[in-house]
């Protein structure tokens, strides 16, 4: 799989790839803007998000992979453009500018521990975005996962065990990926779980399988399984 930095390099020349990146990273852009302006912002409503989108595009175009990680760089560009925007419209006071990003970065660099945390956060964001995209391809939303996520620990563990079996069994995994249906009979043969129970947990199991197969290192969705 290509790294984000590879994709950025490609996006500099290919408009489609740049658009795809912007679309995928919209939640990230929104969360950076929100943190800066100190309130919830909505696409199509708040102008700050347009500034954020343009800043992200600017970050793609001017990114130098030798100097820093892309998301840190994009975050800094978005913050600076937001400050410019508020200065221009004389609304600086509403921007949360307790410490500019440059000083943030300096502070980060002054402490290896902080740097490590920031680096992990960045990798986690990438994994979240990748996970959301994976789920989207399967027609699963996070809202849906909240609603069907088992409350009982026992049941959750049982579903995770099913996911582990699927992820660890090549033929069952291939069947799932090919048909996008849970191979209930095969799982039943191995784990003797009632088909109805499996069907009820279908979406959750698939979501867990996708996380396991993707091998996320920083998005620790299922303790003991992902790392």
């Amino acid at each position: 799989m290509r790294s984000l930095e590879d994709r950025i390099s490609r996006a500099k020349d290919e408009k489609d790839e740049a658009n795809r990146l912007i679309s995928e990273f919209k939640p990230f852009i929104a969360s950076v803007v929100q943190k800066k302006v100190g309130r919830f912002v909505e696409y199509g409503v708040d102008e700050e998000l347009s500034v954020g989108l343009m800043a992200f595009k600017e970050a793609i175009d001017s990114y130098d992979r030798q100097k820093s990680k892309f998301l840190s760089f994009a975050r800094m560009v978005i913050s600076m453009r937001l400050i410019d925007y508020y200065r221009k419209s004389k609304k600086e006071r509403t921007v949360s500018i307790e410490g500019s990003d440059r000083s943030d970065i300096a502070a980060d660099e002054s402490s290896m521990e902080q740097y490590k945390i920031a680096d992990e956060n960045e990798k986690r964001i990438l994994e979240i975005i990748e996970y959301r995209n994976l789920l989207k391809k399967w027609g699963i939303s996070l809202e849906q996962l909240v609603d069907i996520s088992p409350q009982k620990e026992d049941l959750r563990e049982q579903y995770k065990m099913v996911a582990r079996v699927i992820a660890g069994n090549e033929s069952i995994l291939k069947a799932l990926l090919r048909t996008k249906r849970l191979p209930v009979k095969e799982i039943e043969n191995i784990l003797s779980i009632h088909p109805k129970k499996l069907e009820r947990g279908r979406i959750y199991i698939i979501a867990m399988v996708l996380a396991m197969v993707a091998g996320f290192s920083y998005l620790n969705i299922s303790r003991g399984d992902m790392k």
């Binding site: 990230f28 800066k36 919830f40 986690r124 996962l145 409350q151």
Partner: protein, 241 residues
């Protein structure tokens, strides 16, 4: 418990815990970013699952609620029918008497072949009830009722349920009737019944004008020879719902 913010919405965010549980949590606006790790209160995240006993209680409550709704609906329905007849001037007593009479008549008729079929007693009772119910239903669908006199030569018009009913008597012998749907509503299904009356209000005959999907713009016209002694008619409009 540690959780990672996966998605931020206006009033809440979606987090995933280390145990693989997806939850909605309230967070202050503009403080967190996607990917931030937050601590969530275990007590707050505790959402007790319903025990089988609670589920049973829920089912019983739902069933009880349905029963209550049905009973209340039936009571209100009966009250509505009674009020309707009371407002029609026939009076409850008269209505009940007519209904009883109708039931007795049907039962009597149905009881006739009793000697031929032993099991027919149950059947005839059902039939009697059905007939009574049909009668009640028909009565319940009367949407208009009024008396009109036949000593008119000019057109008399009345708008009934979006339909313009017009009549006149030509040369004192022919009753001309016109009906036109002037509404913009869906088609009318029902019957215009003209109960022809003598001076002493006794019925001579009934003229039925049935309609099936009488849509806006449709027009109907007919003429009927008046019989001797007919001085008025009672118009009753039945609508099928």
């Amino acid at each position: 418990m540690k959780a990672v913010i996966m998605e931020i919405h206006k009033d809440y965010c979606i987090v995933v815990t280390e145990e693989g549980r997806f939850l909605r949590r309230k967070i202050p606006s503009g403080v967190f970013e996607i990917g931030d790790e937050i601590m969530i209160d275990q007590e707050l995240t505790f959402e007790p699952a319903k025990t089988p006993r609670q589920s049973m209680v829920g089912r019983y409550l739902a069933t009880a609620l349905v029963v209550v709704v049905v009973i209340v609906g039936a009571v209100l329905g009966i009250r509505f029918i009674r009020q309707y007849y009371a407002s029609e001037g026939r009076g409850l007593a008269e209505y009940e008497a007519v209904a009883e009479e109708a039931a007795e008549e049907v039962v009597e008729e149905a009881e006739e072949p009793q000697y031929e079929y032993e099991e027919s007693a149950e059947l005839t009772k059902d039939e009697a009830e059905e007939a009574l119910a049909a009668e009640e239903e028909k009565e319940g669908n009367v949407v208009y009722k009024d008396i009109y006199f036949l000593d008119v030569e000019n057109w008399v018009q009345e708008k009934i349920r979006g339909i313009m009913f017009s009549y006149r008597v030509e040369s004192g012998t022919v009753l001309q009737v016109q009906l036109e749907n002037i509404s913009s509503e869906p088609g009318f299904d029902g019957t215009f019944e003209l109960f022809m009356l003598k001076a002493d209000k006794s019925e001579t005959r009934v003229i039925d004008i049935p309609f099936k999907n009488f849509v806006p713009g449709d027009f109907f016209e007919d003429a009927f020879m008046l019989q001797e002694g007919e001085t008025s008619f009672r118009l009753e409009v039945f609508e099928e719902f």
